[in-house]
Every structure is written in structure tokens, then in C-alpha cells.
């Protein structure tokens, strides 16, 4: 009786263990793996490979070498410049805003309002965002008309246009700044309240505290956030397309044109352009992952 009772749970535990193992076949990673292969890996790999294959079907750099034409170099240069500027500007502004909200002595309730709004604004991109800025800074926008009538300064007679590089950069900040705020806030909250006091009691000025304590800790998260912003802007298509009606020379817009054949149809070149974009994005995120790992070691 005692023997049987002690054996029964052991048997059922073994049964559970066996079913855990058998479940591997049933649930497994199969749906996920199949989905990733069919919808993500094959389409991307095909496009990238086609960028590296010539008309004869063999490996060739013919498509990639087309990228050295001035028009395409210019598209990548514009894309990278736009992304770098909005990443740096959005990064600094987003950091200042996060800093003000977290440690500026503002009411605590403001923090969750800022977070929720940032969540919305970081996802409020594309066509609606282009429209919102056209209503503000377009030739007949609210702010333009106000400047023209009340300040007697017409930005459009002074070389400004919303539908070019500068206008696009300003528009991108609308989703870049909130994204930076969301990414960098945890690092700022990680700074202890006691640290500035400890530094002050050791005779450090607020500037010294910043230079010797806060900045060294925040440097990696800041840089990581800016890399994320860079990638975020580099892959952006809808906002630029809607705002400039596809006229600005950016890498993503070029790919769309080459592939759909609205203007010119050259799928080999389109594949090479896509390959270039994936390469730039991969480098960006490799650095981002590296920074994340180093930041994790610091515990921030």
C-alpha cells in the first residue's frame, strides 16, 4: 500500500515529463519558423540575391555597380543626411524633453501624459503626419499665414519650402522626438536622486556632476537611442512620399519607383537599391545591439 502510493506520483511525474517532450512535435516552433521563412526571409533574400545576380543568372556586381551613378549616390547621401540630422536633432530634443519631464520638478502626473502622447506621436506618421504639417507650414498653412500677415515674414519668399529637405526634416522630428523620449527615459530614471547630492557634498558644481557622473552613464543609452532614430528615419517611406509627392530623391522612394515602374522600370537596379538599404540598416542595428549589450553591463 505504502509502496503503491509512493510509486503512483512518480509514474505520473514521468508521464508529465514524457508529454512535455512529446509536445515538442505538436506545438513546437514550427508555425513561427514557417511564417518567418515564407514571409520575411525568402522575400528579403530573393531581393538581395537578385541584386547580386546578373542577366546570365550568375553572380555579378553589374546591378550594384549601377548604384555608383550620381543619381543613386545622391539618393543615399540625402537619405543618410536626413536620417543623421533628424536622429541627432530628435535625439537631443527628445533627451532634453525626457530630462525635463523626469527630473525638472514638474508634476509627476505629467510623466504618464508625456508617455502616452509620445506613444501616439511616435506612431502618428505617414500620410496623416504629412497632412498635419501641410496644414501648419504649407504655403497656406496656419503658421505660414500667421507669419506672413502678422510678422510680415513670408518663409516661402525666403527660400523655405515644406516639400523639400528642411521641411521633411522638421516633419520627421514629430515622430523622432517622442521615440527618443520613450527609449531614453528608463536610463534617466535610473540615475539616483542621491547622486547629485553626493557630488555636491564632495564639492562638485552641477556642471561637474553632469560632465563626470550623469553624462558618462547616459552616453551609451543616448547613442543607442540615436542609432534607433537613424534607422527609423532611413526606412521611412510614406511620410516622404506624401509630403513631397515622391519628388525628393531618397533611397526608399527610388526603390518604390524602380520596382513599380511608375517612372522607370529596372528591377535589377531596384534589387541593388534594396540590398543597399538592408546593408545600411544592418550596420545601424548591429551597432545598436552592441551598444545595448555594453549599456546592459553598466546596469542602465
Amino acid at each position: 500500500m505504502t509502496q503503491a502510493a509512493s510509486r503512483a506520483p512518480a509514474a505520473s511525474a514521468a508521464g508529465v515529463r514524457m508529454r512535455l517532450r512529446r509536445g515538442l512535435v505538436l506545438v513546437g516552433l514550427l508555425p513561427f519558423a514557417a511564417f518567418a521563412v515564407v514571409f520575411l526571409l525568402i522575400p528579403t533574400a530573393l531581393l538581395v540575391i537578385r541584386g547580386l545576380v546578373g542577366p546570365s543568372g550568375r553572380f555579378s556586381l553589374a546591378n550594384v555597380s549601377q548604384l555608383t551613378a550620381p543619381q543613386y549616390i545622391d539618393a543615399y547621401r540625402t537619405s543618410i543626411t536626413l536620417s543623421a540630422i533628424t536622429a541627432a536633432g530628435g535625439g537631443v530634443a527628445g533627451f532634453l524633453l525626457a530630462w525635463a519631464v523626469v527630473s525638472g520638478g514638474l508634476p509627476r502626473r505629467l510623466r504618464s501624459v508625456a508617455f502616452t502622447f509620445s506613444g501616439v506621436a511616435a506612431n502618428f506618421a505617414g500620410v496623416p503626419l504629412a497632412f498635419a504639417f501641410a496644414s501648419t507650414l504649407g504655403p497656406l498653412g496656419l503658421l505660414t499665414v500667421f507669419m506672413r500677415n502678422s510678422l510680415h515674414y513670408d518663409p516661402y519668399t525666403h527660400g523655405f519650402t515644406l516639400f523639400g529637405f528642411t521641411g521633411l526634416a522638421i516633419t520627421y522630428l514629430y515622430f523622432q522626438i517622442p521615440l527618443m523620449l520613450l527609449v531614453v527615459t528608463p536610463a534617466i530614471t535610473g540615475l539616483r536622486r542621491e547622486w547629485p547630492e553626493a557630488a555636491a557634498s564632495l564639492g562638485a558644481s552641477p556642471f561637474t556632476y553632469w560632465r563626470r557622473v550623469a553624462f558618462p552613464i547616459l552616453r551609451l543609452p543616448l547613442l543607442g537611442g540615436m542609432l534607433l532614430l537613424f534607422g527609423n528615419s532611413f526606412g521611412a517611406y510614406a511620410t516622404a512620399y506624401a509630403l513631397t509627392t515622391g519628388l525628393i530623391n531618397l533611397a526608399p522612394l527610388l526603390i518604390g519607383q524602380e520596382m513599380t515602374g511608375n517612372v522607370v522600370y529596372n528591377p535589377g537596379l531596384g534589387s541593388a537599391l534594396a540590398l543597399g538599404m538592408v546593408v545600411v540598416m544592418s550596420i545601424t542595428f548591429a551597432f545598436y545591439a552592441l551598444l545595448r549589450r555594453r549599456a546592459a553591463r553598466w546596469g542602465t
Binding site: P43, L47, L97, A125, G256
Partner: protein, 267 residues
């Protein structure tokens, strides 16, 4: 006490930064609202909104976008939940790989994904994959992988997956019951939060939809903008309200968590 008060007094710099931010973020919204309330010579009118709601094309594209969003959520859950669960339960060494694949959509821009899918399967000899609606839902699911995986994975991290599973199995539950009645209820908040975020992203998506040739809400807004600017502004106000309520709901169900929001959807 006095010390605490002194700490909570806002600094001038913080107020200045906040003031500038409020202007920068509110002005475009205010301008859009103002623009959406004009029509012809009328200063304030709801005519643009009436124009939108009386346009069958609007309802058609809204219905299409909502359908795509719901299908994306269902497919995303079916793909992500078992994988995240299984990795936690049996294959912790595969966690890095699954997470890496779920972050890949950040590296592959929407343009590249849309054109890659159309090139790979669009020619018509790939069975159901040659159906562009299937490709659209697939592409949207790819877009939402990072958000869904993060939501599900952090939900699973908070519970003891192994103990719960073994307990359920030893009580005689089958695998469907384990997933449906034990695991899912425990990560419901994270799932709901992920679903709202995906809904908001898909509803406003433009790039993939336009390249694959569908008239989603985003594509309709673009077309409407070319023809009727005021009506388009009204549409933007409506879609902003929609995104706002989705993200708001997301934050409520996830208890104010912001971890999910890193990284944007479709730009």
C-alpha cells in the same frame, strides 16, 4: 518637508523645454483641426466631415483596413504565442534566435518587404501566396512581430511557465487546454496591449498597402488629399483620434507600461 517642496518646484529650463515641446506637438494638430473645419468661404463648418462619412469609398477602405488589422492580430498571435511559450518552456537556448528574427523587421524597411513579397510570390504560381491579400496580411504580421513578441515574452517572463504547465499536464489537461486555459489568461494584458498597438499601426499603414495596390485607410487619405484637402484634414483628425484611443487603451490594459512602444511601425 521644506526640502521636499523645494525639490518639486519646476526649474525654469524644464518649463521652457516643455513649453516649446507643447507648441511643436500641438500646433500641427490644431492647424489640421482648423483646416478640417473650413469649407469654401465658411470659417467653421462640419461639411468636410459630412463629405467623409457620406463617401462610400471611405467606409469601404475603413472596413478593409479594420479587416486586415484583425486578421493581422489573429495571425500574429497564432505565430508568436506558441513560439514564445515553447522557447520559455523547453528551448531557452533558442530565445536569442527567436528574438533576433522578431527584430529583423526593423532592418527590412516596408518598401523592401512589400516589393520582395510581390516579386517572390506575386507572379501567380505560388498557390494561396499569390493572393495579394494574403501577402498584405503576411507583411503586416511581419511588421508587428517586434511588438507582439515583446508583449508576449514579457508576459511569459512574469509567470512560472514551467510549473504552471507541469501542474496543468499532471491534472490531465491536453496541450490545447494548457495554451488556451492556462497560458493565455496569464498573459492576457500583454496580448491586449500588443493587439491595440498592431491595430493602430495597420490602420494607418500606407507604404505596403499602396505598393501592393490596396485601398486602405492610409491610401484613401492620400488620394482624398489630392482631390479634397479639407475632407482629407477631417480624415486625419479622425485617424489621429483612432490611433490615440488605441494607444490609450493599450496603456490602460498594460498598466502604463511603455516598454512596448520602442521602435515605430510604418513610417
Amino acid at each position: 518637508m521644506g526640502h521636499v517642496r523645494a525639490r518639486s518646484r519646476p526649474s525654469a529650463g524644464a518649463l521652457a523645454v516643455l513649453g516649446l515641446a507643447v507648441i511643436f506637438f500641438v500646433l500641427p494638430l490644431a492647424a489640421t483641426v482648423q483646416f478640417s473645419l473650413q469649407h469654401g468661404s465658411q470659417a467653421i463648418t462640419l461639411a468636410p466631415y459630412q463629405e467623409i462619412v457620406s463617401d462610400p469609398l471611405f467606409w469601404g477602405s475603413l472596413q478593409f483596413s479594420v479587416t486586415m488589422a484583425l486578421l493581422t492580430i489573429v495571425l500574429g498571435m497564432l505565430v508568436v504565442v506558441p513560439a514564445a511559450y515553447w522557447v520559455r518552456l523547453r528551448l531557452p537556448q533558442a530565445h536569442g534566435v527567436v528574438e533576433f528574427i522578431c527584430l529583423l523587421p526593423f532592418v527590412v524597411p516596408g518598401v523592401v518587404l512589400a516589393i520582395g513579397l510581390a516579386r517572390a510570390y506575386g507572379s501567380g504560381n505560388a498557390g494561396p501566396l499569390s493572393n495579394f491579400q494574403v501577402l498584405l496580411v503576411g507583411a503586416y504580421t511581419v511588421l508587428s512581430l517586434p511588438f507582439l513578441f515583446r508583449a508576449v515574452d514579457s508576459g511569459l517572463r512574469a509567470i512560472d511557465v514551467r510549473t504552471l504547465t507541469e501542474a496543468a499536464l499532471s491534472l490531465g489537461a491536453g496541450w490545447p487546454a494548457v495554451l488556451w486555459r492556462v497560458v493565455l489568461p496569464n498573459i492576457r494584458a500583454g496580448l491586449l496591449a500588443g493587439a491595440f498597438l498592431v491595430f493602430a499601426i495597420v490602420l494607418g499603414e500606407y507604404t505596403i498597402a499602396s505598393l501592393l495596390g490596396f485601398s486602405t485607410l492610409g491610401v484613401y487619405t492620400e488620394l482624398e488629399g489630392a482631390a479634397h484637402a479639407h475632407a482629407a484634414a477631417a480624415l486625419v483628425v479622425l485617424s489621429f483620434a483612432l490611433v490615440w484611443s488605441c494607444i490609450g487603451l493599450m496603456q490602460i490594459v498594460s498598466g502604463g507600461g511603455t516598454r512596448m512602444l520602442e521602435g515605430g511601425g510604418a513610417r
